[in-house]
Amino acid sequence: MSIKLEHLNYIYSQGTAYEKKALNDVCLEIPHGEFVGIIGHTGSGKSTLIQHLNGLLRASSGELYYNGENIYREGYDMRKLRNEVGLVFQYPEHQLFEIDALTDVCFGPKNQGLSPEECRERALEALRLVGLKEKYYQSSPFELSGGQKRRTAIAGVLAMRPKVLVLDEPTAGLDPKGRDDILDQIAYLHEKSDMTVILVSHSMEDIARYADRLIVMNKGAVMYNDEPKKVFEHYRELEEVGLAAPQVTYIMHDLVKRGMSVRTDVTTVAEAADEIMRTLVHHCTNS
């Protein structure tokens, strides 16, 4: 159970004056059950990359294997692939259309051919997961606030119970609490149901907190593909391509510069606090 990309290239509007190479020789392997973060500056090809994962875009050249099967093979069942790889687009609230939130979330399961009761059951479960208050289930999606719309849209994909969940900046424009809520729920789902999660984000902090592995995109190519800790060691190179390491990485590097022997590969605030405490305690007991 894995997704494997081999020498994937993608060119937008091929053969016209607007030709634009968006992916450049991307090779990746995403094993089942991993939580992968994808980061990269604006226009680096993140959204383009993830649209390949469920066959919405077809690579200009290169191969993509899902569970060992080449999805570009003649007669490959794309519907099945799309049932298993759920994709939440950037600004997914723009896709809502039904008369109320609950019915909208039912759209995915209905297309999977489930019975109305089953659809409803799944929709309720998904809406609970994303934390939409029950009083909004019957309201028109156009009357909801931005954050509530976002939750509804994410629930729309979760209700399909994908084996692989791909999210394109699901938290852009949400308040800090809403952001943490949604990410925590996704992390919980990942733990509980062994779902592969691929999260595109602009926040190094979020990625550092949740992801097992971090893929850095630059100009359509994969620049780093490693554990977040290891990637953040290259914080100077990251800065050169318009990105940055989490804030704590900078603090730790500064502390080292000032003579404190802390580890620099911590990535979250909690870890950093522990590490500083440890060093301080160590320091005091020694002197």
Binding site: S13, F89, H94, Q95, F97, F107, G108, G156
Partner: protein, 274 residues
């Protein structure tokens, strides 16, 4: 998928044609379209073809790009050809089977009609390929300016046109995005009978309309915030001015029209069949 529609799209290139004043291009396109219906002989068609080929060449728009713009009218073209082919009864009978009769006159009309339609589309899309929508509306506004005297709101109409044109690519992009999002949720836009297909468009059309209204609203706000209040007393940052090359283009165009009409009328109709 949906981006293949090229009619009404600008093709950026540096060419003589691109640099012409939009008024020139509008007038010349109109003249060319009219000229297509002013002759009936093969020699006229030859000249019109040569002229169009020359302009395409000078404009540096790739031929493949232009041909792609013809795809949407293939259906229309077929219908026209078939109707002309079977319904025109004129001259010698070439073919007869059951209720279908093809006459020599029918065949000629069908071919001529098809060629005219194709040139019509190529001619007008060549104008939009070489003129940005902004230039185009500027040109239309300037050309229609005299109508202001009889209280036609020329500026407002031009503004509406430029907004509409500006929104075409945005809405296409939006359609593409929403379509993908719904396909990702298992929507099926392709299979089923006509009623099922119409129904399957709802998940696409509702968000599209919502987004179009949202954008229109935003745009109106932004225009008000900048104190837009119509054409009266409004000046232009880049007023249109004719240059030498524009006069030259007019002269070439008039020469072509005179020539094609004269030659096309003088030479007889059936030269092309031996």
């Amino acid at each position: 998928m949906i981006r293949d529609i090229t009619i009404g799209q600008y093709y950026p290139a540096k060419s003589m044609i691109h640099r012409l004043d939009p008024r020139v291009k509008l007038v010349c396109t109109l003249l060319y379209l009219v000229s297509l219906f002013m002759f009936r002989s093969i020699s006229g068609y030859l000249i019109a073809t040569l002229f169009l080929a020359a302009v395409i060449r000078i404009s540096r728009v790739p031929f493949s790009f232009i041909v792609r713009g013809l795809k949407p009218i293939v259906m229309l073209l077929m219908i026209t050809v078939l109707f002309n082919l079977f319904l025109t009864r004129n001259g010698e009978v070439l073919f007869h089977a059951w209720i279908f009769t093809v006459t020599e006159g029918g065949l000629v009309t069908a071919v001529y009609m098809a060629v005219r339609l194709i040139y019509l589309i190529i001619g007008s899309s060549l104008m939009t390929f070489t003129t940005t929508p902004n230039e185009l509306t500027d040109g239309i506004e300037a050309l229609l300016h005299p109508l202001n005297k009889i209280h036609v709101p020329v500026h407002e109409v031009a503004m509406m046109m430029s907004i509409a044109l500006r929104f075409i690519p945005i809405l296409l992009e939006e359609t593409d995005k929403i379509m993908k999002a719904q396909i990702a949720r298992g929507a099926d836009f392709e299979s089923g009978n006509i009623i099922q297909r119409a129904k399957s468009m709802i998940p696409l059309l509702v968000p599209l309309f919502v987004s179009a209204f949202r954008r229109a609203n935003d745009l109106a706000m932004a225009m008000e915030a900048r104190c837009y209040r119509g054409g009266e007393g409004r000046t232009k940052m880049k007023p249109l001015r004719y240059k030498c090359r524009d006069y030259a283009a007019y002269i070439v165009m008039i020469a072509y029209v005179v020539f094609v009409v004269a030659v096309g009328r003088m030479l007889p109709l059936h030269v092309w069949i031996f």
